[in-house]
Amino acid sequence: MPSSSKPKAAFFDFACCEGCQLTVLQLEETLLDLLEHVDIVTWREVMTGESESYDVAFCEGSITRERDVERIKKIRETAGILVTLGSCAGIGCHNAVRNKWPVEELLQKVYGTEEVVSDAIPARPITAVVPVDYQVLGCPISLPEFVSVFKHVLTGRKYYPPNQPVCVECKLNDYLCVYEKGMICLGPVTRCGCNAICTSRGDACHGCRGLIENANLNAMVKVFTEMRKLHPIMDAVADRHRPTLEQIRRRFAVYNNWPELKLERGTTHGA
């Protein structure tokens, strides 16, 4: 089946739930169309056998151990093109939530008092370890975006992860803003590309694709923690929540932990 002219693709995973690979598998029949353009030579989750050489590497997961650092560097050297899949690989995701504790303490917590040896290191995204060519963000990735990036790879076009907030996709789909229901949403500061899947279901955006460039985190602090009469819709939100600075910080910290998130009055992230 393999014809040598097609680029060779390989899939690799690091610390994660493997939900992104699973999402790629959801292409089902479309996966066969995709195979018109590439040969998949390594994919541990679905096939036996692996290849020492490949052109495009799709990698998911976070780097959490010394040996992972070596492994991803090797992959980087081998692959002409490195594509990260998912927020674990792109921004650290909740894997990095644990970074607020030292590794030794974590091991202690899970394994009781026994002394254990481990090469665990603070969790970080792949993007923090090696240069990557393409990124698909999301927890999990969105399939249409994966396909789009895939086409960019095949045609040699650059792909810029969308740098617009989720609100844009939310509005373009004519979804109801969850603020109207009194929920606080991280959509205004979170990268879109998910087609606003959470708000399409009336849920708030939890920020899984990370912050947009130049996100105004301070705005949220200002709106909700300043004493000021709010307008009717926002009053309903504030009535229900009136979050403290700590609560706001925690909400952001579900996904945005690499590098350390600074949230205090008077800061604009990335500005």
Binding site: Q164, P165, V168, L172, D174, N216, N218
Partner: protein, 351 residues
């Protein structure tokens, strides 16, 4: 010339839509299935779904003509490529449009017809029979401040609630045809008075007001000296673009290509865009001409109340209040505008 007026019963209004639906799709405000209690413009499945007394919708009815994301043409990668325009040809009825949204359609008619005119918008507009309806304001509406309270432009038929049904004003033959399908009555003086009172009540109930008329606001913006205001507003603003993407008078867009998975065919798409987004004015070399949030905020106000006012003779705000409702940072267009009016006047007094 005063429009022809007829009275139609409340049931008659639904009959009229029912009749129209036999031939054409009808797009009108209906309750959201995903969130009861809220409304949106949607293609009616049955005439009963129409909600005549809705307050507002998230997206304005302009989406019936220019979808948030629409295909302009398809292409192939043959040599030479084959290009095929994709455009709507189906006639439809757009019903339940409030005066502010009629004004929005009118504003876009004007903008898109400036030379070099675009063909898509007027072509799509030509497909619709538009039925307007009068409304009651909520806390965010301020159409009386921008003179769109009584807008009838661009509608074929306009309805006002009266005691025994609706007073229908007929503006075009298309409107007449729609109305002719149902039983109507000559309006009595009482009907005319009812409609008059509705309009008066509407203005009385309006709680939000701009403290100056659009002409004065344009002058004040032009005079400048408002840097601190843009800065203050920007400190709260997320640059999420919701104010633009919900505005009936905004018309910016983006265009991009998409390949099919075959990589042999594809489409060019255009999508609503927003000047509040960071990369709106980004050019090659990562040069951004409105990098600062306050620049973008300022641009929004200038574009709504100054630039287009000077260029096209009208403010690009219809008083619908959608941007303030939608703002995720609780920035209210009326409050900010009034603050700038107050500031500019004070500055003028001191001078």
């Amino acid at each position: 010339m005063a429009p022809l007026k007829q009275v139609v019963s409340s049931e008659g209004l639904f009959d009229m839509l029912r009749e129209a639906m036999k031939e054409l799709p009808v797009i009108a405000p209906a309750e959201r299935k995903d969130q009861p209690g809220f409304h949106h413009f949607a293609r009616l499945q049955q005439a009963e779904d129409f909600v005549p007394d809705y307050v507002t919708t998230t997206l304005p009815p302009k989406k019936a003509f220019f979808q948030p994301s629409e295909t302009l043409f398809t292409f192939t990668t043959d040599q030479p490529p084959a290009l095929e325009l994709v455009s709507d040809t189906e006639h439809f009825v757009l019903a339940g449009v409030h005066p502010c949204d009629l004004a929005g359609l009118d504003a876009l008619d004007l903008a898109y017809s400036q030379p070099p005119a675009e063909v898509r918008w007027p072509a799509d507009r030509g497909l619709a029979t538009v039925v307007g309806i009068d409304c009651m304001p909520d806390d965010y509406c301020f159409c009386s401040s921008v003179g769109t309270c009584l807008t009838r432009q661009g509608c074929d038929l306009f309805l006002t609630k009266v005691d025994r049904g609706y007073l229908a004003e007929v503006y075009t033959p298309a409107g007449d045809t729609m109305l002719a399908k149902v039983r109507t009555w000559e309006p009595t003086e009482a009907d005319i008075r009812d409609a008059e009172q509705w309009r008066e009540r509407k203005v009385e109930r309006m709680t939000a007001h701009l403290e100056a008329d659009p002409a004065e606001i344009a002058d004040l913006l032009e005079a400048g000296g408002l840097a601190h205001l843009w800065k203050e507003t920007a400190e709260r603003c997320y640059s999420c673009g919701s104010c633009n993407t919900t505005c009936p008078a905004c018309f910016c867009f983006d265009m991009h290509d998409e390949f099919d998975l075959s990589l042999k065919t594809g489409i060019r798409r255009r999508t609503w865009d927003s000047c509040q987004l960071l990369e709106f004015a980004l050019v090659a070399g990562r040069h951004n001409f409105r990098q600062e949030r306050e620049q973008r905020v300022r641009h929004r106000w200038h574009r709504k109340f100054l630039y287009l006012y000077r260029r096209l003779g009208r403010a690009y705000c219809t008083g619908c209040g959608r941007c303030s409702r939608a703002c995720t940072a609780d920035i209210n267009l009326v409050d900010v505008t009034n603050a700038l009016i107050a500031h500019a006047r004070k500055a003028a007094d001191h001078a």
